[in-house]
């Protein structure tokens, strides 16, 4: 019998995804196993990945774990935000196949179904390992706060800057997460030149046009020495010493900039963050001590951060009958942040 909670991948097809799920589990000190319905072992060997995935049957999963929590956006799924899992020691968190989700027989065994609210339920929004990291983060904390509800949550959404990604897959997955959580623009300091230019853009736009894709996100290329004038910048990373992620106010609106750094390629202590804003705040994604030895993935930590920002930004308050408000005429000084970049579509980021 297992003495630690376990992340279980049900029907995972891609061995690289499976390996990243393993790394996600390691981050939080969880075990990791798979129910191999799609020849995962064969793909693992084909890709010459070291070791072997731990594979369990449905019966073994049910025997060794209690409760089983299914993590997908099916009918009856409750929000992850605010979900209290209870004791973790034998809990199994199940994530499903990249395209088809969790199999019906395992869903029926699950005590609870949880989901992260997304922009679209019809689109496969988050990379499976990134979504697992979000669930692991909140469950490892024993739950967390509920998602805010606001009259106009868009007003609380900060701007986003992605800095120093060393790999286009990690960056692409992060961009996918940002779009899934509702951002329609992100600034990208492409220091490793892993994203802008090349054939990827033309192919992406072609596919998006063919699929009549919606859910776009504008990617604005930002130079690494560019000066901005935000009121506040929150630099989010694994570097200890900052304000814990769930305690930082990350929903101060468009005058706030949230920076997600690739901890493998950026030393936040050597950067001049004052070039971005009047005030600088360091924010730490606090991991449990037991998860201190793990393989780092930018997409996992950045998606956890994006999920927390999305929780604080909130969702629109359900419409209730209300008194009509009188019209207002605002005198605002509007500015345009640079918009020179490219548009990508959530539907076209599914490969990341």
């Amino acid at each position: 019998m297992t003495a630690s909670p376990t992340l279980i991948g049900d029907g995972i097809e891609n061995a690289w995804n499976a390996l990243t799920l393993h790394h996600a589990a390691d981050m939080f000190g969880w075990g990791c196993a798979f129910r191999d319905r799609k020849d995962l072992r064969a793909d693992w060997q084909r890709k010459q990945i070291a070791g072997d995935p731990v594979c369990l049957s449905l019966a073994e999963i049910c025997q060794q774990h209690e409760p089983i929590v299914a993590f997908d956006n099916g009918d009856g799924a409750v929000p992850l935000y605010g979900y209290q899992p209870g004791r973790l020691d034998r809990l199994a968190l199940v994530v499903g196949n990249e395209r088809r989700g969790i199999s019906g027989d395992l869903v029926r065994e699950a005590k609870r179904r949880v989901q992260v609210p997304m922009v679209s339920r019809r689109v496969n929004c988050l990379n499976v390992a990134a979504s697992a990291a979000v669930a692991l983060f909140y469950l490892s904390k024993g739950g967390g706060g509920k998602q805010y509800t606001r009259v106009d949550p868009h007003r609380n959404r900060p701007e986003l800057l992605l800095v120093g990604a060393g790999d286009h897959v990690e960056l692409g997955s992060t961009i996918r997460s940002a779009a899934a959580f509702g951002w329609n623009r992100a600034f990208v300091e492409d220091r490793g030149e892993v994203w802008f230019g090349g054939d990827r853009l033309a192919q992406s736009e072609g596919r998006a046009a063919a699929r009549r894709a919606k859910n776009a996100i504008r990617l604005v290329k930002a130079a690494s020495d560019r000066r901005y004038a935000f009121d506040e910048v929150c630099v989010v990373s694994l570097t200890p010493g900052g304000q814990p992620l769930t305690r930082a106010n990350l929903a101060r609106g468009p005058r706030q900039l949230v920076v997600l750094v690739d901890d493998d390629h950026v030393d936040i202590d050597r950067e001049d963050w004052n070039r971005l804003a009047r005030a600088v705040r360091q924010v730490t994604i606090d991991l449990p001590a037991t998860g201190s030895d793990f393989v780092y993935h930018y997409r996992l930590t950045s998606t956890v951060a994006l999920a927390e920002v999305a929780r604080q930004v909130g969702v629109r308050t359900p419409k209730t009958r209300k008194r009509p408000r009188p019209p207002v005429y605002d005198r605002l000084l509007r500015t345009l942040l640079e918009d020179d970049g490219e548009t990508v579509y959530l539907e076209d980021l599914e490969e990341y």
Binding site: R252, G253, P327
Partner: protein, 181 residues
């Protein structure tokens, strides 16, 4: 003994001018006394139907820098501002830069920000003319077209009228030697 201007104002009432203290690092560029002077200067016609003028703290979540607001019917709000110079993320939209320069601001566009310097009393005068009298323009159009609690013109037309009001007020202000006294 009261001045002739004060006696004239006494025969009609200025709306109440209510001030909320600004946040640390902010100030109200135009004081309540200065606002009362401007309204008295332009006369009863611009004040008729106004219910209140309020000096308030700004909402940091606003999509743009908040200057002022008209809440129908007849409530005008002027927002606190940072002292000059202002540093705003991005570049000013449309003809906003030109309007600020006409009001006396000095603009310095950077790569991804704009610095706006307000020398002397230009910021105060901007708030009194291009903001307060602009909102008065909205109020006059709304109020004299039937006082309904709904928009009585397209937003674009409303803005054109309010802009014209502010422009005319600045002309009068300059013709009067740059003073409201």
């Amino acid at each position: 003994m009261e001045s002739p201007e004060a006696e004239a104002v006494d025969s009609w009432s200025l709306p109440p001018i209510v001030e909320t203290p600004p946040r640390p690092g902010y100030h109200h560029p135009a004081t309540r006394v200065e606002i009362a002077e401007v309204l008295a200067f332009f006369g009863e016609e611009v004040v008729y139907g106004l219910r209140s003028i309020e000096l308030r703290q700004a909402d940091p979540r606003s999509s743009g820098l908040q200057l002022g607001r008209l809440v129908i019917p007849g409530q005008i709000v002027l927002y606190e501002q940072r002292p000059s110079p202002w540093t705003l993320p991005g570049h000013l939209e449309g003809d906003e830069a030109q309007r600020l320069e006409i009001a006396g601001a000095q603009l310095e566009p950077l790569e991804a920000a704009t610095i706006i310097e307000w020398p002397g009393d230009t910021l105060k005068d901007f708030m009194l003319i291009e903001v307060l009298m602009h909102e008065v323009g909205h109020h006059l159009l709304q109020h004299h077209k039937g006082k309904r609690l709904e928009r009585i013109a397209r937003t674009r037309d409303h803005e054109l009228f309010a802009d014209a009001m502010a422009r005319r007020c600045r002309e009068v202000y300059l013709d009067h030697g740059g003073s409201f006294r």
